[in-house]
């Protein structure tokens, strides 16, 4: 209250401060650079450590199983069989290798073989397409469906199928959850009407969602020969993953800053204007946080659902390799594990970028 209004004469003040701020900026920049270098170094070091531990662990497991095999041969068939077994394992012959956690080198080899396999299958596909071209054109001319390649899908094809499924599911979740979330957030009445629904269905497991969708889609597609695995899996993924977006959207819409609402009231904005110019933009950061969670949940449940739906994606790949039990099956499963992880990470980064683009508060997000 005793504050005197000082007249504005100090326009030089910022100039005095300038060298100091410049200095601080430089210093901070340097620290950041060093910090960044250190951070990358630590990351690389920890990756190497991880691979080392993995290598040692898989070696120990390998030895344990090998010893057991030799021991078994010794007790059941005698010394000669045991020696033969030991020799067979050491020779590296695929038939008698212990089937355990693969080593990093085996996984690397599997990755390369999977990529090579992709090109082989691609060649086959192309050859098939050229062979069938004339026939197919005749079929199309007659109004019949062309004959398509129905051989084994390569690993890369399964990855693409999975990505396609997850995006379809994500889009479905977005189209369902965002509008409903907005409506629920706007109206307390509808919120109480929908709340039990959300609370009950949110914790339901992906497997059960799959079964529910299967019941419905199967009947809808009854009598049609077309493959509904993709439809079932993307709908299940969408239904499993939409809850985070639904809840976040409703919360974002319901908790718009009171100041903005007051401004809207004073300006007497209509409902449409109020929703689209004030409420929605201000809740976008929360909506996108929800969408980010939805996408990562979608990717996580996708694997289980593809497995159940027999949709030719990564989930089915992993399961088939496990059932297959071939010598390199385990290392292929580990390859799939890394691919799943890396794609999940990239999807999350993608959403984070989008989230930061729409967010008016640049400090939000992690």
């Amino acid at each position: 209250m005793k504050q005197e209004i000082t007249l504005k004469t100090e326009s030089q003040a910022p100039n005095i401060m300038k060298p100091i701020t410049e200095f601080l900026k430089l210093k901070l920049g340097k620290v950041n650079f060093l910090g960044g270098f250190k951070k990358t170094g630590i990351t690389i070091l920890s990756i190497l450590l991880f691979i080392g531990l993995w290598h040692l662990g898989s070696k120990a497991l390998y030895n344990k199983e090998a010893d057991y095999k030799v021991e078994k041969a010794l007790t059941e068939q005698g010394q000669a069989a045991a020696d033969a077994e030991r020799a067979c394992i050491e020779s590296g012959e695929s038939g008698c290798q212990p089937n355990t956690l693969p080593s990093p080198t085996q996984v690397w080899a599997s990755l390369q073989s999977l990529i090579a396999d992709h090109y082989i299958i691609k060649e086959k596909k192309d050859a098939f397409a050229t062979k069938m071209e004339a026939t197919n054109q005749k079929l199309i001319a007659k109004g019949k469906a062309p004959i398509v390649y129905t051989g084994r899908a390569s690993f890369i094809d399964t990855v693409l199928t999975s990505i396609k499924t997850v995006f379809a599911g994500f889009l479905l979740a977005l189209l369902i959850a965002v509008p409903i979330g907005i409506i629920i957030g706007l109206s307390p009445t509808l919120k109480s009407a929908f709340n039990w629904f959300i609370q009950i269905f949110k914790p339901v497991s992906p497997v059960v969602w799959y079964l529910l969708v299967f019941m419905i889609v199967k009947t809808i597609y009854i009598g049609k020969s077309s493959d509904n695995a993709f439809v079932i899996s993307f709908i299940s993924v969408g239904l499993c993953a939409m809850w985070a977006t639904l809840v976040n959207t409703a919360m974002g819409v319901a908790s718009v800053d009171k100041d903005y609402i007051n401004v809207a009231k004073v300006l007497k904005l209509g409902t449409f204007q109020k929703v689209f110019k004030v409420i929605l933009p201000s809740s976008l950061p929360l909506i996108f946080t929800g969408l980010r969670i939805t996408l990562s949940v979608a990717w996580m449940v996708l694997i289980a659902i593809e497995l159940l739906a027999q949709s030719p994606g990564l989930g089915l790949f992993v399961w088939e390799e496990f059932q297959n039990g071939a010598n390199d099956s385990n290392s292929k499963i580990i390859v799939a594990m890394f691919v799943i992880g890396i794609i999940g990470f990239l999807l999350d980064r993608l959403m984070l970028t989008v989230q930061q683009m729409v967010s008016f508060n640049k400090n939000e997000g992690i």
Binding site: M1, I5, T6, L7, L267, K268, L269, F360, N361
Partner: protein, 275 residues
Amino acid sequence: MNTSTIKNTNTYSENGIVFPSKVMLDLKDLKKVYPTPKGDYVVLENLNLQIMKEEFVTIIGHSGCGKTTMLSMIAGLNPISGGNIAVLGNPVKGPGPDRGVIFQSPSLMPWMTALQNVLLGVNQVFPHATKAQRTDIAKYYLHKVGLDGAFHKKANELSQGMQQRVGIARAFAIKPKVLLLDEPFGMLDSLTRGELQDILIEIWNKEKITAVMITHDVDEAIFLADRVVMMTSGPKAKIGDVLNIDFERPRTRKAVLDHPDYYTYRKHLIDFLEH
């Protein structure tokens, strides 16, 4: 309150001749009660205040005495518990663009540019104007508050002082009948506050919109106002005293500070507040 008595407040008669009233804003027996578990808490009671057309009134009082409650009731953002508020004889029923509000925090939409923020109100008040006309209005007021270079800057990229300038432009651009200012410069440093007071009074001199402004700053209250209204401390706050400021307009800060009456006014206000 029935409508016939309200109509009467909008005219006044002198020697049998009826003149249109000079009263812009009429608060009558205003009361505000907040129910609490321990019983009703009466914030305002028997508050009577008339504000004339083209008058600038500042309201001063201790924190928590109900100044903001009174202002938000005038704005229509807070329901009235008793009594009546009328703008040009029409009772206030809710918020509306005839009463522009400049909030304590700038309350700009941070995802919009300065221009879009001003246009939000202008579009609403001048729906029949062309887009170019509305943009011109918004730009004119942004120019008036000294934001020529910042039309297309996002609101969250502006400093607090610049944001409040946009707030001033937004309030004036909708051409309200009454301008309500709730400690608009309370969050600013004293340098910026002085600048914004100058800008506010410069625009106000031109537009002469009836203004009611809450402030904690005695000097600000004297410099800007035609009348300083002092409110008693709550609960049951009402008007304690009214001080007419007879400096001629347009005023300059220097002239006001040099005026012999200035310190008398200042002493009057401080005596009231320290009482």
